[in-house]
């Protein structure tokens, strides 16, 4: 019988009773054939690979991660709580050393959900990796964590959640934003003033195949990880770089995905996108599981796989090599950004569009330029659906002055915000201002 050389817990939760809509890519059928493949291959008969059910994320799990307006229940359904709970279960298995690694093979995904959420963006409501990371830090204290986002779309949500957090290294490898949703993820997006070089973007050209992708991994991601020395590596594991994916333009294979995980050696992987449900997911998921468990994956192959037809053009490979030559600099020698300042605050003003629900959010963020801590953060946000709300974040190392400023803003009675939420990482307080 086969035996895992590194034990793997798989949280397989296909949510067979939930869809965004009956013909939406995020529908009940999505993981059906993956399950058929797992069953037929006897994945869970392999010694050291076990199957687990998800937990369910509670309000506090979500409120310590996101500013949810108008409320948690209006932002997420049970499906989102359970999907995030699947990621939490993965973390729990690994942190409690029940399994060496874990893979949350759950839906719906989360990596387009930003710090502030008003609704669904890019099929995502809450950021399930971020909810998991905050669950870990709540229980196990401050950790250095690397999140490597291997979904074909830029992980703009996760990037936003950790934009100012130097403890979290976020690396996204994706199809160039000039050619794909959400249109972001360029190398110069490099982290906020307090976390410069902790956000790394690797935009790959369309039709990148195994060689080009793994080149970026080996020449950019792995050297950066070797220097950052994270306590945990998380793979935000989208499967839409696959050559058969219907909504992207890459040429990655199941072998490529397996090799990626073999090299990256994530402690935890969390499923993100990937909508070639018959042609890719059964093989990619099998490849990822076998690679994470340290089993032989060399015979995992799609029936229609032809290396010669999928190989990238020489020019594409040349472009990737050129690009990667510069990208390690964004970590080792990041360029100080052009941060706008008003008084003692760094200011960001943005408009964010929620494609699934047609919500347009307007946001103004003020981060205190504090020399004692990372600085209190105040986010004013309104949308086409709701008038102005306020989110207040106190960082884990919050100084007394910033703490005072944060709570003053939270307890005011003379402002016009319809909802105010505090996210106090230092004292672990996550709540809304009681209604007037």
């Amino acid at each position: 019988m086969l035996k895992a050389t590194s034990s793997l817990g798989v949280i397989f939760f296909p949510a067979y009773d939930w869809a965004i809509s009956s013909s939406h890519p995020e529908r009940e059928e999505r993981l059906l054939y993956t399950q058929d493949q797992f069953r037929e291959e006897g994945l869970f008969d392999i010694e050291g690979i076990s199957e687990h059910r998800p937990l369910r994320a509670k309000d506090q799990d979500i409120l310590r991660t996101h500013f949810c307006f108008p409320s948690v229940d209006r932002i997420c359904t049970e499906s989102h709580r359970i999907s995030a709970g699947g990621a939490i279960q993965a973390a729990k298995l690994v942190m409690e050393q029940k399994t060496r690694r874990a893979f949350a093979l759950v839906r719906p995904p989360g990596h387009h959900a930003m710090k502030v959420v008003h609704g669904n963006r890019g099929f995502c409501n809450i950021n399930i990796e971020a909810v998991m990371v905050e669950w870990i830090r709540e229980r196990y204290g401050r950790k250095r964590i690397a999140i490597v986002d291997t979904d074909c779309h830029h992980g703009d949500g996760t990037q936003d959640v950790y934009w100012h957090d130097p403890d979290i290294l976020f690396i996204s490898i994706h199809q160039d934003g000039r050619t794909l949703y959400p249109g972001s993820g360029f190398p110069e997006e490099n982290g906020g003033p307090r976390a410069l070089g902790r956000t790394i973007n690797i935009p790959l050209p369309p039709r990148t195949s195994d060689t080009g992708y793994l080149h970026a991994l080996e020449n950019v991601v792995l050297p950066i990880l070797a220097d950052f020395k994270p306590d945990l590596v998380i793979n935000s594991a989208g499967q839409d770089n696959h050559y058969s994916d219907p909504i992207t333009n890459m040429q990655f294979s199941a072998q490529g995905y397996a090799r990626l995980n073999d090299l990256l050696k994530p402690d935890i992987a969390v499923l993100e996108g990937g909508y070639s449900i018959k042609g890719a997911l059964p093989y990619v998921n099998l490849g990822i599981c076998l690679a994470m468990a340290g089993c032989d994956y060399s015979a995992v192959r799609e029936p229609d796989y032809h290396a010669d037809l999928l190989r990238e053009e020489p020019e594409t490979l040349e472009y990737i090599k050129q690009l990667c030559g510069h990208l390690t600099d964004t970590y080792f020698h990041p360029q100080p950004g052009d941060f706008k300042k008003e008084g003692e605050y760094f200011i960001r003003e943005r408009k964010i569009y929620y494609d699934t629900e047609g919500i347009l959010e307007k946001q103004r963020e003020a981060l205190k330029d504090c020399d004692q801590c990372r600085g209190v953060r105040l986010i004013q946000t309104s949308s086409s659906h709701i008038s102005t709300c306020l989110g207040i974040e106190l960082p884990i190392d919050c100084c007394p002055a910033c703490e005072q400023e944060g709570y003053d803003a939270f307890q005011r009675t003379d402002d016009d915000y319809i909802i105010v939420q505090i996210l106090d990482q230092k004292n672990k307080q996550y709540r809304y201002r009681p209604g007037k």
Binding site: P25, R39, E41, C295, A299
Partner: protein, 565 residues
């Protein structure tokens, strides 16, 4: 009237039951070299003075196949498998005649590489040259498309004495388990057939005209004619007989735990709402997981004869057994001796237990009562830990819908039913340790045979339909046919019910339609591009294990022992 026979490792038990009344019970030593002799002995006793022609049903739980496998007394099997990409087929290598035939299907049953006819021929010739007469054929994803398995079967043709075909052995997906199930089925086929021929002759001699059923590991029976096709289903039916015996002798309607305490081991089973829980996929044979459905029974190395020892961490009970307890002339102090010392039991020569424990205790500067009490605690704690782990496992089993996560009730047993030799001895200590009601049914001595007698036929069926491809399949029945695009979930459920009922009818079993349970009925909208191309329908139907009658509580009879040879 019904007869139940349970052939166990040590004893062969039999009962004769009329309606809900126990008429006779018998025990004989099991003669492993000649099971028929043991069967005849008990039958003679229970049928003494009875009109044998009134017996309609004889249900038999036999260790025949299990023993053949455990002792390696099986026939060589030519195993022909077609795997293709994925986990290497060689992982599932079993037996001395394992041949991999190139050719593959994908997860929806589309052929992605043709079966290599040349290599198939060579493999068959190699097997036949070496005198192999029994075969197992299996292809990855054969429940989705049986063509390659059928082709291998066809090529073997009349040259094989018996062929087990993967998709007919189980319609469930799991290639490795399918290979091993088919292998064992062929490996025990000849042994089982010889036995059944001899059994039939022997029953005729007793003027028995009863229909004969064989007990399965899932607690149900199968008609003997079916057992001749799938003898592998008869393995490990012993624990299942105990479980069914509990159902037949107690008011088992709630969540509860069954303990069967034997000499060497204790078996633990769990009931949810009075229904015994099954293994998720199937039981393992010789460490090879199979698709043989079975009641989930956990075994722990603690029994009446478990050896007592004292180590750094204190007094230990089990898992070893050297022989019977001192009180029964055994070589070393056991759990039963500890029970004797504590006054929980009065088995055999109690003074031998006292002397033995005194000597052991003295070696470690202990008092013999203290040692005995710690030994019993150790045993009960180990059993309790195993029970708690089993409940936790069942309550955390994977589920795939939001509905199940939110609505499914946890199993929380409040009652334990204990059977087996030392059952009554442990009643009090188990009650104290687990804080649950402990019941020891009065008929425990032959409860297995009662379970065998009163259980009914079980069956199950997996049906899959793909309206985009226009196909429906029920692999175990060899049903693969075309359907119109309009084929619905309701039609699929109806078809699954009918197929299962008709198949049972063909085997001579008639069941009311409402006894067929639908355990899965899902219909997935399939989308190609951005339009709906069809529906993927999955239905699982089953007849779950159940007893046809509950025994009258006042129908106790003496168990007659067969004369020892």
């Amino acid at each position: 009237m019904r007869i139940g026979i349970d052939i166990g490792g040590t004893h062969t038990d039999s009962v004769l039951i009329d309606g809900t009344r126990l008429i006779a019970a018998a025990k004989a030593p099991t003669n492993h070299d000649n099971l028929l002799e043991s069967i005849n002995q008990v039958l003679h006793i229970v049928l003494a003075g009875q009109d044998a022609t009134r017996v309609e049903t004889l249900n038999l739980s036999t260790t025949l196949s299990t023993n053949a496998i455990v002792t390696g007394n099986t026939d060589p099997v030519g195993v022909l498998v077609a795997g293709g990409p994925g986990i290497a087929v060689d992982t599932y290598r079993i037996g001395d005649h394992f041949h991999i035939i190139p050719g593959s299907l994908d997860h929806i049953g589309t052929e992605t590489a043709p079966l290599d006819e040349t290599i198939l021929k060579e493999a068959i010739d190699a097997c036949l040259t070496q005198g192999v007469k029994f075969f197992a054929v299996a292809a990855k994803f054969s429940p989705r498309n049986p063509a390659s398995e059928n082709r291998m079967r066809e090529q073997l043709g009349e040259r094989a004495d018996f062929i087990s075909t993967g998709h007919l052995v189980s319609g469930q997906l799991n290639f490795g388990r399918r290979i091993h199930t088919a292998y064992y089925n062929s490996a025990v086929w000849k042994t089982f057939r010889s036995f059944s021929t001899a059994l039939a002759a022997s029953l005729r001699g007793l003027t028995l005209q009863a229909e004969v059923n064989i007990l399965k590991a899932d607690g149900g029976t199968m008609p003997l004619t079916r057992a001749l096709e799938t003898p592998v289903q008869s393995i490990f039916s012993g624990p299942a007989a105990s479980v069914m015996g509990i159902m037949a002798t107690t008011q088992a309607t709630s969540d509860l735990i069954m303990l069967d305490i034997g000499g060497t081991t204790t078996d633990i089973a769990l009931f949810a709402g009075g229904q015994p829980l099954l293994e998720r996929e199937g039981i393992a044979i010789n460490n090879h997981p199979t698709l043989v459905r079975a009641i989930h029974v956990e075994s722990i190395g603690i029994g009446g004869d478990s050896l007592l020892s004292v180590g750094k961490s204190g007094v230990r009970t089990g898992p070893h057994r050297l022989g019977p307890c001192l009180a029964n002339g055994g070589p070393a102090a056991t759990l039963m001796d500890a029970c004797n010392v504590l006054g929980l039991a009065q088995l055999g020569d109690v003074s031998l237990s006292h002397d033995g424990l005194k000597a052991l205790a003295a070696d470690y500067g202990m008092d013999s009562r203290q040692l005995a009490s710690e030994a019993v605690d150790a045993a009960v704690n180990a059993i309790a830990a195993k029970i708690e782990a089993l409940i936790a496992l069942v309550n955390s089993k994977p589920v795939y819908t939001i509905h199940e996560i939110l609505e499914e009730r946890d199993i929380s047993p409040r009652k334990i039913i204990v059977i087996g030799g030392p059952a009554s001895v442990f009643k009090g200590v188990l009650e104290d340790r687990l804080g649950m009601d402990v019941e020891v049914p009065t008929l425990y001595g032959v409860v297995n045979a009662i379970g065998a007698a009163l259980t009914r036929t079980t069956s199950h069926l997996t049906l899959t339909a793909d309206t985009a491809k226009g196909k429906v399949s029920a692999p175990m029945l060899g049903v693969f046919r075309s359907i119109p695009r309009s084929y619905s979930l309701d039609e699929a459920v109806e078809e699954a019910r009918n197929l299962l009922a008709n198949d049972l009818a063909q085997a001579g079993v008639s069941l009311p339609a409402d006894e067929i349970q639908i355990t899965q009925a899902d219909s997935f909208n399939m989308v190609d591009g951005s339009y709906t191309s069809g529906r993927n329908i999955r239905v699982v139907a089953q007849v779950q294990p159940a007893v046809i009658a509950r025994l009258n509580s006042d129908s106790a009879v003496d168990i007659q022992m067969a004369a020892t040879r």
